[in-house]
Structure formats: structure tokens, C-alpha cells
């Protein structure tokens, strides 16, 4: 890591965040200046979409100019700017743009409060961008709270629907507890090692300081690390911090559910990788064996991984609401991705980055289909999807692509993602790693069961009376179709994405 840049010179490195923040402020001002007028919706959506596109362009432009292509430390070490930050920020921005697309014309977003809605989406995206590049416990906390606070509000945004309020309230109470637990862990870690920056903590831990030799100190360190994992686990919806997930997903406006299911997960995994590597690996390597022998980091994550995928898949089987089913499926996917974190090393991290990119495409796509059907018939029940193959052939076909990809079958991108995760785990070679891989494979088989149930409803069951008509393809359906193309293509030509994923974690050497 090069020496940290002081604050003023650092602003050039956070152009995407500045653009998102600026767009949000503009939207909030417009909201105060009469944003409830009916004719302004399109303007708000354009400001939101334009800020996201501009932020993405700024990210690409600054990366092509060579900034952040090698690890740099900015804002006096608070924020890291490196390929991993670029990769995950790009994922977040793509997800945010898709969510704004889905929100346009969606009936589940209240008409009079569109400006605040898009503004909060932009602030949340900004928080996720910072979370993907946070390099200091304080920065992790602030970025995570700015994501959380916006998501609480957006889940409870549709105050005309009781479910939205209830989902939001449950989310904010769980979230408050999780972040308080994480903060207590951070305060203990700060006390033990006297630093808030990941580099400072790493130096103190890997130098084999006396703290871990002392039983009381070791206990304190374990508690601190476990508590901090609780905070990250909440963001990625890992067991046992997942209870908010189905309620928040079901209650939230569907376009926001789409964003909530992918982007915070990507940012949460980015910070989990950065934290696990930044804290426990020997400087300049990915070898975390020394530190993990004293703090059982990998064991904790491994157990969480197995529990998360098993619970997510088993509970998903009995769901009748498609949004809820996808919520449990997203919990299961967090479990799969955690396998990559357990495997660690270049392969494991590459697998995590690649799987998250694929996951953003396929899960966003599945929710786009849900959004399209919801807009046409106002229902998310699986039984209302019966006969969709006849009522809306293209939409049903696209949904099948996403479901096959979520199951992890070829020739879709999901298969490639799973392939990388499992091969990273198997390459580690050890009884426990093999056991985790077996659990993962059994879970993939279980997941086929409930994904197939949706496909069966769409193609083998005849349409029910009241909801026969789905109509022509709306804009949400169009987005789903667009997202289906890379989901299929990446299943055949995944090399470009694999190269990007490798690049994103290559600086760890």
C-alpha cells in the first residue's frame, strides 16, 4: 500500500460517489420545491438514471486513466481505491440503474414522493460504493449505516400498504441490533489493537502480539470478530441474521426489492473480503493461516455458510409468494458465496467476485419478471403464474433462463459462477472443505426443486380465471429480456468476466 493521500487530493478518486451525492441533493431540493406535482415524475427518474449513468461513466473513465488500477489509499487511509473497489462499484451502479428503470411507472412506488424515492436510492448507492472501498472501521460503520438507513426508509416507503410499513419496521429493529452488536465488536477490536485502520489492525494481529497468547485476550478477540461478523452477516442476510430478509423483501416496493436483493449483498461481500483479507492475512499475501489459527475466522464463516444455504433452501420450498421464495433463495445464495470466502486465496476471492457479478444479473432479472407480472396482474403468488408460458411466452421463457441460472445449471452464467466457487473450495483440499462442498452440492439439488415448481406452474398448469391476461411486454419485462442476454452469453463465453474478476482481486498478491 502506498502512502495515504491527504483529503483534498483524494476527491478526484471518488467522482462516482460525488456524482451520486450531487444527484441526490438535487432531487431532495426539487422534492422540497414542489416535487409532488404530477408532471415531474419523468424528470426525477431522468435525474436518477442520469446520475447513475454519469457515475458509471466517471468510474470507467478514471479507471481507464489508470487511477485505482493499483491499490491506493485515499482520505488519509480511510478509503482504499483498488481494482476490487472498481469492480464492486460497477456492480452496484449497474444494479442501481436497473432498479431505477424498474421503478419508472411502477405502481408500488407512491406517485407523490418520487423525488425522495430516487434521492434515497442514489444516497444508498453512494453508501454501497463507499462500503466496497472502506478501509477503516469508522468508514465501514458510516458507509454501512448510510446504506442501512436508506434501505429502512425505502422498504417502508409505500405507507399506503400496511405490509410495507411492517417490513420496514422489522428491518429497522433487526438492523439496529445488528449494527449495535457490530459496533461493540469494533470497540473491543480497537481496544485490543489500538487502531481503527485495517492496515494497523493487520500489523498488530500478524506480528503475533501478546494479546492472543493470553487466554482473556484471545477470548476478547474472538468475541470482537464474531460480533463484527454479525454486522456483515446482517447485510448479506446470512443465518442467523437473516430473519428480516423475507419480510423486508415482501413488504418493499418490488423495484426496490430487486435492488435490495443484489446490491447490498455485493457491497457486503466486498467489505467481508476486504476485512477478512485486510485483518488476517500476512502482509502482501492471501495466506491467512497464521492468524486464523489463533482466531478461528474460517471455521466461523464455514459453519455460517453451511447453515445459511441449508436453511434458505429448505424454507424456500414451502413458500407460496414468489417474492418470499426469491428472498429465501437469496439467503441460500449468500451461503454459496460464503463458500468462496471460506476457500479464500486468489481462487476463492475470484470466485466470489465472479459469482456476485452473475448473481446481480440473474437475481435482478428474476425480480424484473416479478415486477412485470406484478404490474400487469397485481399479484406475486406462484399460483397466479400458472400458464404464464401461454399468456406471456417471452416473459416466461426469460424467467426460465433466470431460474435455471439461479439453480446453477449449464448453459447459463449461474453454472459458471458455481463452478468457480466449488473448484476454489475443492482446490483447498481438506476434509472440512470437501464436506462443505458436499453440503453445497446437496443444496443445489434441493434448490432445483422449488425453482422447478415455478417453471411447472408457468408451463404445465393451465391459467386461472381471474388473471388470464398479462398483456404485452411492459418496460419491466423489457429489462428482464435485456438482462437475460448476458445471463445466457456468460454461460458460454465467460472468459471476459473471469478476466475482470481475476483483475479485481489480483492486487492481493
Amino acid at each position: 500500500m502506498t502512502t495515504a493521500l491527504p483529503s483534498l487530493e483524494s476527491f478526484g478518486y471518488i467522482l462516482p460517489e460525488l456524482i451520486l451525492g450531487g444527484g441526490a441533493i438535487l432531487l431532495f431540493i426539487l422534492a422540497a420545491a414542489g416535487g409532488r406535482k404530477a408532471g415531474w415524475h419523468a424528470l426525477f427518474a431522468w435525474i436518477g438514471a442520469f446520475s447513475t449513468i454519469l457515475a458509471f461513466a466517471a468510474l470507467m473513465w478514471s479507471t481507464s486513466k489508470g487511477s485505482c488500477t493499483s491499490p491506493e489509499s485515499i482520505f488519509d487511509g480511510l478509503v482504499a481505491c483498488d481494482p476490487m473497489a472498481v469492480f464492486f462499484r460497477a456492480l452496484v451502479l449497474i444494479a442501481a440503474l436497473s432498479a431505477i428503470w424498474l421503478s419508472v411507472g411502477s405502481p408500488s412506488v407512491p406517485k407523490g414522493r418520487r423525488a425522495e424515492y430516487y434521492g434515497l436510492l442514489l444516497v444508498m448507492s453512494m453508501g454501497m460504493c463507499f462500503l466496497a472501498s472502506a478501509n477503516n472501521l469508522l468508514m465501514i460503520f458510516v458507509a454501512m449505516e448510510s446504506v442501512s438507513l436508506c434501505s429502512y426508509l425505502l422498504v417502508g416507503f409505500d405507507s399506503s400498504k400496511y405490509r410495507s410499513t411492517e417490513g420496514g419496521l422489522k428491518y429497522v429493529l433487526f438492523g439496529g441490533v445488528a449494527s449495535a452488536i457490530m459496533l461493540f465488536g469494533m470497540s473491543l477490536l480497537f481496544g485490543l489493537y489500538g487502531s481503527l485502520s485495517l492496515q494497523g489492525l493487520n500489523a498488530a494481529i500478524t506480528s503475533g502480539s501478546a494479546i492472543l497468547g493470553d487466554p482473556a485476550g484471545r477470548w476478547a478477540a474472538w468475541i470482537a470478530v464474531t460480533f463484527i461478523i454479525a454486522g456483515f452477516g446482517f447485510k448479506i442476510a446470512a443465518v442467523p441474521f437473516h430473519q428480516w430478509c423475507p419480510d423486508a423483501y415482501e413488504g418493499a416496493p418490488t423495484p426496490f426489492t430487486a435492488l435490495l436483493s443484489v446490491a447490498p449483498k455485493a457491497a457486503g461481500f466486498a467489505i467481508l473480503l476486504r476485512f477478512s483479507w485486510g485483518l488476517f492475512a500476512q502482509p502482501g499475501t492471501l495466506d491467512a493461516t497464521i492468524a486464523s489459527s489463533s482466531i478461528p475466522w474460517m471455521v466461523i464463516i464455514g459453519v455460517i455458510s453451511a447453515l445459511t444455504m441449508t436453511l434458505g433452501n429448505l424454507v424456500a420450498i414451502v413458500q407460496n409468494n414468489l417474492k418470499r421464495l426469491l428472498a429465501y433463495s437469496s439467503i441460500a445464495h449468500a451461503g454459496y458465496i460464503l463458500m468462496g470466502v471460506v476457500a479464500g486465496g486468489q481462487d476463492g476471492f475470484e470466485g466470489v467476485a465472479l459469482y456476485l457479478a452473475v448473481y446481480v444479473l440473474m437475481n435482478m432479472g428474476a425480480f424484473a419478471v416479478v415486477s412485470a407480472v406484478d404490474r400487469a396482474i397485481g399479484s406475486e403468488d406462484i399460483k397466479d403464474y400458472s400458464g404464464l408460458g401461454k399468456r406471456a411466452p417471452l416473459l416466461a421463457l426469460v424467467m426460465v433462463i433466470f431460474l435455471v441460472s439461479l439453480t446453477g445449471l449449464p448453459p447459463t452464467a449461474g453454472f459458471v459462477g458455481k463452478l468457480y466457487l466449488f473448484s476454489a473450495l475443492l482446490a483447498k483440499g481438506g476434509t472440512w472443505f470437501y464436506l462443505l462442498a458436499v453440503v453445497g452440492i446437496i443444496n443445489s439439488v434441493i434448490s432445483l426443486f422449488y425453482y422447478a415448481r415455478v417453471m411447472k406452474a408457468m408451463y404445465l398448469e393451465s391459467p386461472t380465471g381471474a388473471t388470464t391476461h398479462v398483456g404485452s411486454l411492459n418496460s419491466a419485462g423489457a429489462l428482464a429480456t435485456i438482462l437475460a442476454i448476458p445471463t445466457l452469453l456468460l454461460g458460454i463465453f465467460w472468459q471476459p468476466l473471469a478476466v475482470l474478476a481475476t483483475w479485481s482481486v489480483s492486487f492481493f498478491h
Binding site: 460503520f141 429502512y152 411492517e166 420496514g168
Partner: protein, 113 residues
């Protein structure tokens, strides 16, 4: 005279451990409050206790641990963000009250499964 000093001294010379014990007790009380209360505002009070335990830890560590303003800085951010979180949570509690005429979280059970 010496006996009195012996009794008073550990009370006057409050050290790091005293603060840590108080923080741990606060945190535990917060957890218990969150787990046992059904009133949404009481749950928020529990969360607030846990957050303040973390803040107290930070301040105590930086006071007794040595150099830098990192600890107090962290606590300042913590106070501000805790306030922001309370605002958001209260807004949702009020929305719930408008609908259900109660803030008992157990009554908010339409979403389940």
C-alpha cells in the same frame, strides 16, 4: 486514616476495567431489553443502550490506551448516526401506530412464513 484511604482509593482511581465492566453491563441490559420487550420504543431503547456501550468502550480505550483522536471521533459519529437511526425507526413506528393503533411488535405479524 490509612484504612479509609484503602477503602476509598479503588473508588477514586477509576481505571479502564471499571469502564469496561459498566459498558459490558450496559450492552447486556440492552440485549435483554431487545429480546424481552414487545413495545417497539422499548426495543429502540435497548438498541440505544447497546450503541452507548460501544461508545463508552471507545472513549475508555482511547483515554487509557494512549494516543490519537480515533476513539472520540468514532464516538461522535456513533452519536450522530444513532440519532439518525432513531429518527427513521420512530417514523416507521408512527406509521405502524396509525395503522394498528398499537406499537406492540408482536401484533405486526401479517408477514410470516
Amino acid at each position: 486514616m490509612t484504612e479509609i484511604t484503602q477503602i476509598v482509593e479503588p473508588i477514586v482511581n477509576v481505571g479502564l476495567n471499571h469502564f469496561l465492566v459498566v459498558a459490558a453491563v450496559l450492552f447486556t441490559l440492552g440485549i435483554v431489553c431487545v429480546l424481552t420487550r414487545k413495545n417497539a420504543v422499548a426495543v429502540m431503547i435497548g438498541i440505544e443502550l447497546m450503541l452507548n456501550a460501544a461508545g463508552l468502550n471507545m472513549i475508555a480505550f482511547s483515554r487509557f490506551g494512549g494516543e490519537g483522536v480515533e476513539g472520540p471521533m468514532f464516538t461522535l459519529f456513533l452519536i450522530v448516526l444513532a440519532a439518525a437511526e432513531a429518527v427513521v425507526a420512530l417514523a416507521l413506528v408512527i406509521a405502524l401506530h396509525r395503522r394498528l393503533r398499537t406499537i406492540d411488535v408482536d401484533r405486526a405479524d401479517e408477514l410470516r412464513g
